[in-house]
Symmetry: C2
Subunit: 406 residues, 2 copies
Amino acid sequence: MQSILKKEQKYQIIPFTWPKGYKSDGVHAGLRKNPQKKDMGWLYSKVPAQAAGTYTTNQFQAAPTKLTKQTINKSHQLQAMVMNTAIANSVTGEQGMLDAKKMQQLTADKLDITPDLVGVASTGLIGEPLPMKTIAKGISQLELLDNDYVTSAILTTDKHQKTIAAQVEIGGKTVTISGFCKGSGMIHPKMATMLGFVVTDANIQDGLLQDILSQQVDSTFNQITVDGDTSTNDMVVTLANGLAGNPELTTQSPEYEDFISAYNAVLSELAQDIAADGEGSTKLVEVNVENAATHDDAQKVSKAIVGSNLVKAAIFGEDANWGRIIAAIGQTNAKVDIEHTSVWLNDLELVDNSSSANFDEITMKESLKDNKITILVDLNSGTATGQAWGCDLTYNYVRINATYRS
Amino acid sequence: MQSILKKEQKYQIIPFTWPKGYKSDGVHAGLRKNPQKKDMGWLYSKVPAQAAGTYTTNQFQAAPTKLTKQTINKSHQLQAMVMNTAIANSVTGEQGMLDAKKMQQLTADKLDITPDLVGVASTGLIGEPLPMKTIAKGISQLELLDNDYVTSAILTTDKHQKTIAAQVEIGGKTVTISGFCKGSGMIHPKMATMLGFVVTDANIQDGLLQDILSQQVDSTFNQITVDGDTSTNDMVVTLANGLAGNPELTTQSPEYEDFISAYNAVLSELAQDIAADGEGSTKLVEVNVENAATHDDAQKVSKAIVGSNLVKAAIFGEDANWGRIIAAIGQTNAKVDIEHTSVWLNDLELVDNSSSANFDEITMKESLKDNKITILVDLNSGTATGQAWGCDLTYNYVRINATYRS
């Protein structure tokens, strides 16, 4: 039994930087009480960029999420995104949509572009109206700079910024893909995700960006869970402004797979970062499922394990309670060889053919102290694989969420 | 907006007692360390009783659960059930089934009946083999008595026994229905439930008992959740020995609805008792959904709310964070009037037509101190209703489950 082999890597992960032609900024407008904490930000491309998005499937989709979806669907282009934290502008009725549109218009006015090129994203408390005076003040303060302040201006209970950048060569040109996101609680994306933004200077064939995003979101953001709750505001928006000057990328380009690998690395890293920084978490949990009948089965089983409160609490307690992993697997409708399922934890065999492996409790206990726990499951039902990420369930998760509004 | 009206009650809830012809006992055999804690018990009917069961849908169904299902399916009769706590005899391979059969045989020998009339139930840690010497010792100690010791012999992390009895008149005869169960963690029954036993002396038409059980389990045990995890050992077994001497009960009997009401009251009370005693819980949460398009939608929405970690943590924190209730509703695929959804908490209006109701924070905060929280949701999409029960998510839930094996 071997772990999943990494493909040869044709891209480079680099310190966070903006791709060619992007400017941004972040400010404290006054939505958050602490004046040290930025609460509004924006992102701008010198030229209109190809744009694609994925959005929450929660029926109570927030006004900014709905508006951004409508805006992107008009021409599949955006030139700017404006974001705020603290107030989600969700379940705010007609006024919520008017406020989101106002935020879009104010941003367009300041940038002297059409509102149809401006996306809007909000995150924070559900059900409160946006304080529009503060929002207007924030927009008036924003400038077109090279800082990364916007990546902290979207955080809520997150402990740190979540950013990453990758570079890949396409037709002799360096293409940069940069991503940032927020997300800590209410994380259980379904065909959508938390606020995530991925910008690139790649020149990409019309329409292809949405295909790439949708595919890659399925195996990254949609495979994380913190608490099983799907937010009303989730969205990932991706922009490609073409300023890298590479020959137009198509599915036939020789470097297409390299670009996809780099793009996937950006999304995957951000997704793991959200899981690791799940509210109250002390450990990142990665589950790899092998020998599943289908990829869908493998994805389902891996997500069921990272989603189990009991598994999460056992990992917090550094307790190798494998019965809970087995119970989580069995709850799914995936094809499972119930007599020959095996489980490893950090490369130590825990379950051997559906029976306790004779593991050494002391070695296992020591291994459980790591702050990344990797669980590998062999379903003995085929050849497909899948992956998911989550975190442990801790006293701090309860504390943070018992007092969120106060 | 009115709460669900109670139907006229034709049955009486009485202090726990056994129906006619049942004997039982519970002992400390040595499976649990604490000698004060009973860990094995049994239940016996003077005559073979009609039997029916519902069982976990977890693919890793435990050996005792599988064996009891097979046994009941042979002739739809049982005369005895033997139970143990501490070790679940789940994911124990072939030896597990041999052990469950041995437990069945030892019990049959002692009672001088065929093993085909003995059901077996185990609960506790998954993956450990049953210590058969201790089991044999326990069976040798059991007697045919009138005590209720068996109702405590099946508990694990439960804080108290969960018992109830109801009486109803059928054809001039008093019929008693008595139920007991255990369940505190790994509670998210799906078409099945935790260990639950409902015995009656009613004389019931052949085959009807299974229909009644299956129907009633759907609206009671299957509508509770503690942590979203479905156990490998869940089962409800019901026995009817006919010794009340009532005219045979059929769906055409004049008192059929009265019997169903009483039977439902027993299951519903036990289900709520499990939810209220969920691991670490301080509050029982009841959700009633009204004006849903279908009963299924109402059941789904009510269960989504009691299942949301964020709602549960907010209730623990006595925080009227209604956005989380709305987010939980929106996560389902139930038909929802997203502009006209309203929510009440303990009869105080929280959400009015998908906007914050102007509730008084102090009154609401006071109400949230109750140890039973009732949430009422109006979906404005039809006339169907549904109900579910759960509990809050607390530090103690995490503590109990971070250290379960130790």
